[in-house]
Amino acid sequence: MEDIVVKIEHLKKSFGNNHVLADINLQVKKGENLAILGKSGTGKSVLIKCLVGLLNADEGEISIFGKSLADIDENGLNEVRKKIGFVFQSAALYDSLSVRENLEFPLRAQPAKPQHEVDALVEEVLQNVDLKDAIDKMPSELSGGMRKRIGLARSLILRPDIMLYDEPTTGLDPITSKEISKLILDMQHKYKTTSVIITHDIECAHITANRLAIIDKGLCVAEGTFDEMIKSEDKFVKAFFK
């Protein structure tokens, strides 16, 4: 039981009459990379936003490191969030700040560090994503792939235990998508993080994930390794992997 980092039980979320998540049950073990797949509009992004408390579940329970999100206050939630890195679909870089300032921004939530330590951290995460030269650029000067890399670097600067990726390869060409997928895997190996990757990119899931879960109509319809999914006789799973 101790190695379960994320536990989702009977999660339900609706927006008006649109029941996005009907009954989701999932567990993520320490050091595992779980890819959650599904068609567009099946609530994958809603699920990942519930995991960090950006959206509140209507019913059910989410536990991170054994702490139920429903039982903690705002300060407690912020403490949990410090252990989580979130890479947004659009990278969500702060437009008015340079790459350096973007990377330094999450450190505000932590006790003040000497500038040389901050500089070393910034340099390290930029080195990880191979974008050291972009340090003084503005987000508007970066390509889509570079933005995703900087978004990943910004999430890594707090050395999170859990990484959440919301559609990390959406809008990228196949070569850059593959590079980002490999980068996700490299970072997981380097920092020993647990990852949840929301995607509909089968190749990304294949490269990054130890285990896959497929969501359809608000329910988790299949779970298993990539090979198990490929061999599945389920109609929906077969259609998804064709």
């Binding site: 936003k49 960090v52 950006l54 912020n78 403490e79 969030r81 410090k82 989580i84 979130f86 947004f88 679909q89 659009s90 969500a92 870089l93 702060y94 437009d95 008015s96 921004f105 999450p106 505000r108 939530a109 707090l158």
Partner: protein
């Protein structure tokens, strides 16, 4: 038994979407204002971001306000001069223009321009931050986006508008001096002796105080429209538009209240 209230108020309100929408928006705005005061008073304080926003807010509208203020003083003088000349009262021109500018025209025109330039900018910027998930990114980093984004901008507009109004008043009076010299020669010393001779505490102080409320109103409404923007680029456009429209409207409403309060003491 005859009913005292024959129509169920709530049902009736729901039948009028415009009215229920209005009350809904007012209640949300009230909660937003209350949250502002709660977050503004609670440490930690974002002083560096406040300084950055204050600089940007002041700098962004500085040139526009200077040009408008100069034209405002010039035109007011040119338009008023013939009327005063009919009564042989052109010597009253500097003091009349000074009282008009300092008490009313300077603060209101500057605030309306400020709502158009700065308010729309804040509304669009915050809406864009929301659409591109930048506000969510702050939240998941454990940083309070309301404190960082909203509180700093509202305080910046509240503090900077009075400074801009004082600057606009000075430029408008210089424009008036320039206008007065188009038809006859009036010395700088004489013109400004007349200006400051007629202005007293009851002209300057209430006008100065109300500019803080103008700045607060513009800041809070701009942040409210941006922070609560709908998704997509349409939401950004609507937020910017609403910031200007409701910001300008609030300036006139606050001005009306300020004039009523001032009149009680004068």
């Amino acid at each position: 038994m005859k009913r005292l209230i024959p129509i169920d108020i709530e049902t009736n309100l729901n039948r009028i979407p415009l009215l229920s929408g209005f009350f809904n928006a007012v209640s949300k705005l009230t909660l937003f204002v209350l949250r502002f005061f709660k977050e503004a008073l609670k440490p930690p304080y974002e002083f560096s971001e406040l300084a950055k926003q204050s600089y940007q807010v002041g700098n962004r509208s500085f040139a526009l306000i200077a040009i408008t203020a100069f034209i405002m003083g010039l035109v007011l003088t040119i338009q008023s001069r013939p009327v005063l000349a009919e009564f042989g009262a052109t010597s009253w021109l500097p003091s009349m223009v000074a009282v008009s500018i300092v008490r009313e025209i300077g603060p209101v025109i500057t605030a309306v321009i400020f709502a158009g330039k700065v308010g729309s900018g804040i509304g669009a910027e915050l809406a864009s931050m929301k659409v591109t998930e930048q506000i969510d990114a702050m939240e998941v980093s454990g940083i309070n986006p309301f404190k960082y984004v909203v509180v700093t901008r509202v305080i910046a507009t509240t503090l900077m508008l009075p400074v801009l109004v004082a600057f606009a008043d000075a430029v408008a009076l210089y424009g008036s001096y320039f206008g007065a010299n188009l038809k006859e020669v009036v010395s700088f010393h004489l013109f400004f002796s007349e200006v400051f001779g007629k202005l007293d505490f009851s002209d300057v102080f209430p006008a100065f105080i109300k500019t803080f409320f103008f700045g607060f109103s513009i800041g809070i409404i701009s942040c409210y429209t941006g922070y609560n923007a709908g998704n997509g680029t349409e939401g950004v456009g609507k937020a910017a538009n609403a910031a200007v429209v409701f910001g300008s409207l609030l300036v006139f409403l606050v001005d009306m209240i300020a004039v009523q309060i001032t009149s009680l003491f004068t």
